[in-house]
Symmetry: C2
Subunit: 186 residues, 2 copies
């Protein structure tokens, strides 16, 4: 009889197999994620996300593409049809911190009952508008509060608080990522 062992919704057999496979063949850890964005009007655009490469091959498990829309609120000359791009950054960071804690807690056998995250980012649009070269276009700072509930002791709680160091999006935002941009004309 095979009993599936799942903690926090994470299948521990599969997580363990993933770690074993990557440890044996590190090239399996190489992923390439992709997206395409189609501009519609003003700050309104649509992104399509489907294919990616990972674990040694092109992934074909997604039969349909995801579409993700962006717009701006009226004060930034949009029509509130969707979140704006810097709100998506907060979303990506909050969700990544959540998933990172959940996966690593599962690997350590720490079961969580709940995890709620609130996130704020401060931004001065003088940078975007090009009005003051001393003001950066992006966030000046981001603050995150993560509330976890579950049956864990003080040592395990201390361990939970340290797990965000593995978060890909935390790393992307906290540290520089080389971005190469090529603008072409048809």
């Amino acid at each position: 009889m095979h009993v599936t062992s799942s903690v926090n919704g994470v299948d521990l057999d599969r997580l363990s197999a993933t770690i074993d496979n990557v440890s044996a063949e590190p090239a399996l850890a190489r992923f390439q994620f992709r997206a395409g964005n189609h501009w519609v009007d003003g700050g309104y655009s649509r992104t399509t996300i489907k294919d990616f490469y990972g674990a040694g091959h092109e992934d074909t498990t997604r039969t349909e593409a995801f579409t993700v829309d962006t717009d701006e609120p009226p004060v930034l000359l949009g029509e509130n049809r969707a979140p704006n791009t810097v709100e998506y950054v907060l979303h990506a960071l909050a969700a990544c911190l959540s998933g990172t804690i959940v996966y690593h807690a599962a690997a350590r056998g720490i079961a969580l009952d709940g995890l709620e995250t609130t996130i704020h980012g401060d931004l001065d649009v003088q940078g975007f508008l090009g009005l003051d070269s001393n003001v950066r276009p992006g966030y000046e700072q981001i603050r995150v509060t993560i509330n976890v509930t579950g049956d864990f002791d003080d040592d395990q709680f201390a361990e939970l608080t340290s797990l965000t160091r593995y978060s890909p999006v935390r790393d992307i935002i906290s540290n520089p990522v080389p971005v190469a941009i090529d603008v072409t004309r048809a």
Copy 2:
């Protein structure tokens, strides 16, 4: 008679008024964006986005919250219910580069017919898994290709290619942003 002048879907009167207002009172440029994330299961979570502060007051133009879901593909132990967090990073960057070019082109009177963006990010999951401390958790590099079409001359095209420097998300990803994380227990 008032004639609305719009370029690339951007209302130039309102853009001009925004620039004048912020120039006269720079505090109006201060924005705070926010999100809340609720963990569901494994890498599956839901973000809610609604309120923000900007232009000197709490914005109340959104009558309903946006919800944005995240999941992982099966190879990363999810069920493909939504894009994953690092795909949302690519989305945010592509859409932000698009919007930034569109707004700044409008301000310069450069009309675009189309703008399409493709984006790739390379990531080694050994960093996320904690298997190799020399591998960063986030993207090693991101490559973007932006194709613009429209009736512009070579000088204007050269100007277009330089506009991505105003992109908030480009700045956030290319340069460090301080991220303060507080983990609490109920």
